[in-house]
Amino acid sequence: MSSQAGSSTRSSMTIGTRLGLFIVLFFTLVSVFSPWLAPFKADQNFQDALKRPPAWSEGGQAQFVFGTDDLGRDILSRLIRGAPVSLGLGLSVVIFSILFGTFTGLLAGTIGGWVDQGCSRIMDIIMALPSMLMAIVVIAVLGPSLTNTVIALGLVGVPSIFRIVRGGALGEVRKNYVIAAKTFGAGWFRVAFRHVLPNCMSLLIVQGTLGLSNAILDAAALGFLGLGAQPPIPEWGTMLSDSRSFIESSPWMVTLPGLCILLVVIGLNLLGDSLRDRLDPKLRKIS
């Protein structure tokens, strides 16, 4: 808490951070190189090898390291090819909400007045609607697909970003350097993006990382309800819920995608936490 933590700020990282960084880097690399890493195509059926257990257990085949699913598809390949889908999905969701949230937040925070009132009330309304339900309704209207999942979850994530940016902006606009910039004739755009935004950046990054893990979990939940990615896209959440009736007879089909989600989300949370510890001015004071 006191001196020891202080010494660890820049030079070295805690075990948690390292672990988080390692996990996230690992899955990022897997995503980027997935077409070369995966031994098979995601939708390639081996009709004579249905529900093969992983290679190390009895009845497994060396060819299918993590076994095959009920349609005879190699699970390892599906997991590898699912990595860019799940991570990309989370990333798109976060980018979507950051774009909208930042823009509206800056508008509201720097202009103030009725713009602030209007934006804030709209965000309050979105906030008041339970997020999962809101996403379900959006998808019911638009139809289930990857793009619509991104839109639905992105929309749900906008208010938290908005609040952070608006809060930060409200604090900054009253500061002298902003007033000085204004007196020198800086326009709204310059004030908002050159002066105010950089000061909210650290919080945005933290919220972004944590939002990423949330988005991955929520996408999996939508997949569970049959509203997420559509076949044959090997999204982890959909893989998990598609095979959940096999939880007893062929547990590996359920366990492996579940573990992948768990690992990625833990990694992102660890990373987000340590980022918060470093970047959040409030918390920086403590350490």
């Binding site: 349609l71 906030m127 609607l129 019911a140 768990l262 918390l283």
Partner: protein
């Protein structure tokens, strides 16, 4: 329009022969049979029921018909009618009714007479004549009209108390079979009249049904439980069980877990994946029947290129149907070659099937002028049915098969109402469909699914109107000579196979699973102390194990020779100071017990991180597997043990149980049922709150006033609880406020998993059903709740934060 949508809804029929009979189930010592049903009935009036679930809860339990299907076959046997005579011209049917058939009674109706011709005439007339005073004004007798009974029946008259005469307006071969269908169930006229006389709403007959069947309706709690008791004076003899309970359990894997845990004695439609395990499990019994169904892939023959026979044949040859049987149906089906299952008379076994042959398919495609293939779209069946357990998976397999002949397939899935609506309009190219027969007549498949007349009504999804075929099935419908009909239907099947408007996929077997210990089963009235002890023991053991494991892992690591610090510093080592700082940073300079405590603390934070990162449905399934199935100490799902029938006073079972006669035992049962859902739903909030508490407390502890308090020598315990915690509470309370809102409606997954009739589930269901008033009202309700909680949180702030108190 409604009618045709409805006809299409019949595609959803699930139970083989539409029959699920509870009557013959025998329990040696047992008195209550629990059936885990797949959903809630929409009505208890079989005249209005359009789905198998409603029919099971009404037609097959509470009611009888003039004639009925013999169990497990399409043979027609006498029921309320003892015998019948069909006139030579086949236009007049005369039924002799059984004497001494008693109706049920309930708290506000006691029948004064036996079932007679009045009841039969009434049951048909209300459906035929919208002006009949006993017709339900809001009722939609869809089944009756969609079977064209209003056109077929010219008149129905009471000849004497025990004789009824039907006059038909045209020859209709399947008429007798129609009379065995659920919608012709006989209701009590006296009941309807007595309701009107008492000034009660007539709709009560659909919510509190009175029939002649083996079971008497007792009570229904929506989405939870339906209770029936045995009908003492049932005309086929009193059922062997005293009471029958339907525990509504929408999730197939949960149903199976409940069966294993002994919470259900009987389930229909176990998931195909579980069938192997059920068969292996000595505690369970699996019953298998060939299903009266067909699953198929229909081409929209009105659209290019599917209007070309060669293209259809090419696709037929390209699809490896045996692989679908293995992978999707898990082997519990046979390849279909005709549009109706072999069980139905006139099935033409001489029809030759198309073989799987990729080369031939390519050749045919070339002949049709699509050598390079084309882009195609297929609509997957959005729901799971025995004839197609997983439309999505089936579509994925077809996608890879079709890719081999150059057809690029796009798979689309719409939700059920939209799927029906769009397919009726013919917007599809290829579509997965299926049918479960509802009266065992070939007409029920060959005519309804493939005739010209069913193109506009939406059941002919191939939109295939082929005159030579259509003539045959229309002709056969108006004959009564079964031999001649057989000939015509056999010919029709040959034409179908030549033209292949569908790829016939499978006839699936239908399964029911039940507990084999049923005979010796007696439900423990809570099992009281025994269970409580059990839980306690298990929890203590669990806690001890965890503690032991953590101790061992901690000390073992430290007993292993080698200094972790030196290891960390690398081979070049470091100065003494460096080592000391490193030790201090890792906390290794503290005594072992202190190190252990901090290790515990860290692993607790780690555990909360894992909880926070867990996909909640996976977590729930794991918990059910462990606590309910493996250890068997907690119930799988539901709100209270079904032995307790608690009258609803407040709607909160935890309070109602204290007000009821059962008292504490029932209370504990309700509490026990709450445990798992609460843990699952609470995991993420628990993790979030603990993390928030940690960071908030850390922040406050660094404040000056905390330092002052410490300097004054106030004990650390007091510093933390009195000084710091109170101030740290503000962000925690905010978080709790936010979480309550999302928990309240966001618990959809938990509710689905544990069959908990909650707001979230209700809203998701209404989104699926496009029930706009419910969606609007529900969302408003949820938002109101959230706003209310935020208000409370704001009020709490002022209490908690002295600064805010001062400014006011």
């Amino acid at each position: 329009m409604r009618k045709s949508i409805f006809r299409a809804m019949l595609l959803a029929w699930t139970i083989a022969l539409g029959q699920l009979t509870f009557m013959p189930l025998v329990f040696a010592g047992a008195k209550t049979l629990v059936y885990c049903s797949e959903g809630s009935p929409k009505t208890f009036n079989p005249q209005l029921a359009t789905d198998g679930t409603s029919a099971n809860a009404s037609a097959h339990t509470v009611f009888n018909r003039l004639v009925e299907f013999k169990e497990g076959s399409s043979e027609i046997i006498p029921a309320l009618a003892e015998s019948w005579v069909i006139a030579k011209d086949s236009l007049k049917y005369t039924f002799k009714l059984r004497k001494g058939v008693k109706f049920h009674s309930n708290s506000f109706f006691k029948p004064t007479r036996d079932m007679n011709a009045d009841d039969v005439v009434y049951s048909f007339q209300v459906q035929m004549d919208p002006k009949n005073p006993l017709t339900l004004k809001n009722g939609n007798y869809e089944y009756f009209t969609s079977m064209e009974m209003d056109k077929i029946i010219k008149s129905i008259t009471k000849v004497d108390d025990y004789t009824v005469e039907f006059v038909l307006s045209r020859k209709e071969a399947p008429f007798l079979a129609n009379l065995a269908m659920d919608f012709t169930s006989v209701l009590s006229k006296e009941y309807a009249e007595s309701l009107l006389k008492a000034g009660q709403v007539l709709e009560t007959i659909s919510t509190n049904p009175i029939g002649t069947g083996p079971f008497v309706f007792k009570s229904y709690q929506k989405d939870t439980i339906i209770r029936f008791t045995a009908h003492e004076n049932y005309f086929r003899g009193k059922p062997k069980i005293d009471s029958l309970v339907f525990a509504v359990t929408p999730d197939a894997s949960v149903r199976y877990q409940k069966l294993k845990a002994g919470e259900c004695h009987f389930v229909s439609e176990p998931a195909p994946a579980d069938i192997e395990n059920i068969a292996k499990n000595p505690k369970l019994k699996l019953m298998k029947e060939p299903g009266l169904n067909v699953g198929y892939l229909a081409f929209n023959t009105e659209k290019k290129p599917y209007d070309s026979l060669k293209v259809r044949q090419a696709i037929m040859h390209a699809l490896n149907r045996q692989s679908y049987i293995d992978a999707v149906y898990l082997g519990h089906a046979t390849i279909a070659k005709n549009p109706m299952p072999p069980l139905i008379w006139s099935y033409n076994d001489k029809v030759k099937d198309y073989e799987y042959n990729v080369e031939k398919a390519k050749q045919l495609l070339k002949e049709a002028g699509y050598e390079k293939g084309f882009d195609a779209e297929m609509w997957a069946l959005p729901i799971s049915r025995p004839y197609n357990p997983s439309g999505k998976k089936l579509a994925e397999l077809m996608q890879s098969d079709l890719a081999k002949i150059g057809i690029k397939l796009k798979i689309s899935t719409f939700d059920w109402p939209i799927h029906l609506e769009k397919s009726r309009n013919g917007e599809h190219q290829m579509i997965q469909a299926g049918w479960t027969g509802d009266n065992g007549d070939p007409d029920n498949f060959l005519n309804i699914l493939l005739s010209c007349a069913s193109v506009p009504s939406g059941t002919n999804v191939a939109r295939w109107c082929y005159k030579p075929y259509n003539d045959l099935v229309t002709q056969a419908k108006q004959m009564t000579n079964q031999q001649k009909r057989t000939e015509l239907y056999k010919k029709a099947q040959v034409i179908f196979k030549e033209q292949i408007p569908w790829v016939t996929l499978a006839h699936a077997q239908v399964f029911r699973a039940m507990s084999s210990q049923v005979s010796g089963y007696t439900i423990h009235p809570f099992g009281g102390d025994l269970l409580k002890k059990w839980i306690l023991n298990k929890i203590i053991v669990l806690a001890l194990t965890l503690f032991g494991a953590s101790l061992i892992s901690f000390f073992l690591v430290r007993l292993v020779p080698g200094d972790p610090v030196l290891n960390l510093l690398g081979e070049r080592g470091g100065s003494v100071e460096q080592i000391e700082t490193m030790k201090a940073r890792l906390g290794l300079d503290k005594p072992l017990p202190v190190q252990y405590l901090s290790f515990l603390k860290n692993s607790l934070m780690g555990a909360s991180l894992v909880g926070y990162s867990m996909p909640i449905f996976w977590w729930g399934l794991l918990l059910i597997l462990f606590f309910s199935v493996h250890l068997g100490i907690l119930p799988v799902s539901g709100r209270i043990d079904i032995v307790y029938d608690i009258p609803t006073k407040t709607g909160l079972l935890l309070i109602d149980t204290w007000l009821s006669a059962e008292g504490a035992v029932a209370f504990f049962s309700a509490l026990k049922q709450l445990l798992l859902p609460a843990i699952v739903l609470g995991t993420i909030p628990l993790a979030m709150i603990s993390r928030m508490t940690r960071s908030s407390l850390l922040e406050v502890l660094s404040e000056d006033y905390v330092r002052t308090a410490r300097a004054q020598g106030i004990p650390e315990r007091l510093v933390i609880w009195r000084v710091a915690f109170r101030n740290a509470l503000i962000p925690i309370v905010t978080l709790i406020g936010l979480l309550v809102g999302s928990i309240m409606t966001g618990a959809v997954l938990t509710e689905t998993l544990f069959s908990w009739p909650g707001v979230g589930l209700w809203l998701v269901k209404s989104v699926e059903a496009r029930d706009y008033p419910v969606i609007q009202g529900g969302i408003l309700y949820a938002s109101f709740g959230v706003a209310l909680i935020n208000l409370t949180v704001d009020a709490l702030y002022t209490k908690l934060n002295p600064k805010l108190r001062m400014t006011q």
